[in-house]
């Protein structure tokens, strides 16, 4: 269970998040919708402690995570996929995956982890020697997800998985997210593609100018007049 309480974040003197509180239950897919610059990436960065918060906290399964080091976060079962995949372009698919299990204790078990991830993403195994930068955008996103799975996480934070993908690839990527839910993994996903995301997610929050302005089940949001007008273009 992920609990974020009263996060305030500022860049220099400019506040980017105002008193943001959200939750995600075990095995739940929770979406975070919002326009460009709403503060979605900032929120994920604050949750994972990549940037410090002025106040507020984030905890996962009872432990405070916003101040954790990256290795601790990985070991505590949290995988963060930043915006744009951020693969290591001149490393092979296999090497990129291995980096997902970098903390020492996981490194020893990386062969086993690799087998599990290859079972989830058979295409990656076929091409394990290929350099990441020579893959298509969709394949790169698969690799980024596979790399996140290498640490066998219980919580996944995804920043715009569908960005720049063709519709058919979005379906494939979202299909994988759905399969994570079946494994009991909690997902917090940032998206701009509101309609498809709401069809996938259990619940969603709307972030506007750094504030959570709406929250509810996906069905509620799909039926909400304001959401329909502003985010679904209906």
């Amino acid at each position: 269970m992920l609990k974020v309480k009263g996060l305030n974040v500022a860049y220099g003197g400019v506040q980017a998040l105002w008193d943001v509180s959200i939750e995600a239950g075990e095995g739940e897919i929770v979406a975070l919708l919002g326009a460009n610059g709403a503060g979605k990436t900032t929120l994920l960065n604050a949750i994972t402690g990549v940037i410090p918060a002025l106040s507020g906290e984030a905890e996962f399964e009872g432990r405070r995570i916003d101040g954790m080091k990256s290795a601790e976060l990985t070991e505590w079962g949290i995988a963060y996929l930043p915006e744009g995949g951020r693969l290591f372009p001149d490393m092979t698919i296999r090497e990129n995956l291995e980096m997902g299990a970098f903390p020492r204790r996981m490194w020893r078990e990386r062969a086993k982890r690799l087998r599990d991830v290859y079972a989830m993403f058979p295409k990656l195994r076929e091409r394990e020697k290929q350099l990441a930068r020579t893959m298509s955008g969709g394949e790169q996103q698969m690799l980024a997800m596979g790399r996140g799975m290498m640490s066998n996480p219980r919580l996944c934070l995804f920043d715009e998985l569908s960005y720049g993908l063709a519709p058919i690839m979005v379906d494939e990527v979202f299909g994988i997210v759905r399969s994570l839910r079946e494994r009991g993994i909690t997902v917090l996903m940032v998206e701009q593609n509101a309609y498809q995301t709401l069809e996938l997610a259990d619940r969603a929050y709307v972030l506007e100018n750094g504030r959570v302005t709406l929250g509810g089940t996906s069905a509620e949001l799909l039926g909400d007049d304001y959401v329909r007008k502003s985010y679904l273009g209906l």
Binding site: S70, L73, T74, Y80, R86, F88, M91, E98, M99, F102
Partner: protein, 289 residues
């Protein structure tokens, strides 16, 4: 004719091996730690003088000096990064500014190291003779120490390459050089990796210095020339590309050998002509992107 070619080629490979070592070292320091280390050649000089001192004063086998000199030179590089460059990076957030400042610091470091060496060892050339007998190889005659240097340079380069590609630390170094922020997300300690890379750079320079002392006279002002050559090779091979430095090092050694055979005084001129021509055709170097 054939013998001449063999001579020139082997001579070029020997030089190339040294160039490859020092360039891979500089490439580590620039590619990961973002420091264009102008004092790089001084670590070559240190390696050479340590070996000379150990050999002439204590009779220690120069080959053993590789093992003796490696740890302290690595630690010196590591400590320099920890004490100076890391602090510099913490206070200069903008990366372009850091690169400029780091280069200025390394200029200072160059003078400090060089002058300490000058105080200790003076400016006259030094040398010793080690395995100076000749061996025949395919009809051509080479001195044994030069072949040994070549073999050693190739082995160290290969070992380094395997380390980067196979070990956990090596992979962390490559990941950090490709995307430091993303690497940090996976638990790679960027500051430590940078200090290690700076140390490895110093280490490779130091080993090159040990090897150089076996075949050439050395002096306390020898560093600068090698720094320039390393910079040329690193630019030639593509900034920060280790395979590029390896290939570029051997290529430049071979070209230098051919030019030196025709007209020795043109060697450095030739290097500059090559780099200017190459940058016009491929602004990012042989393997750069």
């Amino acid at each position: 004719m054939l013998l001449t070619v063999l001579n020139v080629v082997v001579g070029g490979l020997i030089m190339g091996g040294i160039y490859a070592l020092i360039s891979m070292g500089l490439s580590m320091q620039y590619g990961v730690a973002r420091i264009l280390n102008v004092s790089h050649g001084e670590f070559i000089m240190l390696g050479a003088f340590f070996t000379w001192a150990l050999h002439t004063a204590a009779g220690i086998n120069p080959l053993l000096c590789v093992a003796i000199c490696a740890p302290p030179i690595f630690l010196l590089g590591f400590a320099l990064h920890r004490t100076i460059y890391k602090r510099l990076r913490d206070v200069t957030r903008v990366s372009g500014l850091f690169e400029g400042n780091a280069m200025l610091v390394s200029f200072g470091l160059m003078f400090v190291i060089k002058n300490i060496a000058l105080m200790r060892w003076g400016s006259s050339p030094k040398g010793y003779s080690f395995m100076a007998y000749s061996v025949e190889f395919g009809g051509a005659v080479f001195s044994a120490n030069r072949l040994l240097v070549l073999a050693f340079a190739v082995c160290v380069s290969a070992a380094f390459y395997v380390f980067l590609n196979r070990s956990r630390l090596g992979k962390a170094i490559r990941a950090a050089s490709q995307d430091a922020q993303a690497a940090a997300l996976f638990g790679i300690k960027i500051n430590r990796v940078m200090a290690i890379c700076f140390g490895i750079g110093a280490l490779l320079a130091g080993i090159a210095g040990v090897l150089l002392s076996m075949i050439y006279q050395i002096n306390t002002a020898m560093g600068m020339n090698y720094t320039i050559i390393a910079i040329i090779v690193v630019v030639l091979g593509g900034l920060g590309s280790i395979p590029g430095s390896l290939i570029g090092g051997f290529a430049l050694g071979l070209i230098g050998s051919v030019v030196a055979y025709i007209e020795p005084s043109l060697q450095l001129v030739a290097y500059y002509v090559i780099i200017m021509a190459l940058l016009l055709v491929r602004p990012k170097g042989i393997l750069g992107r």
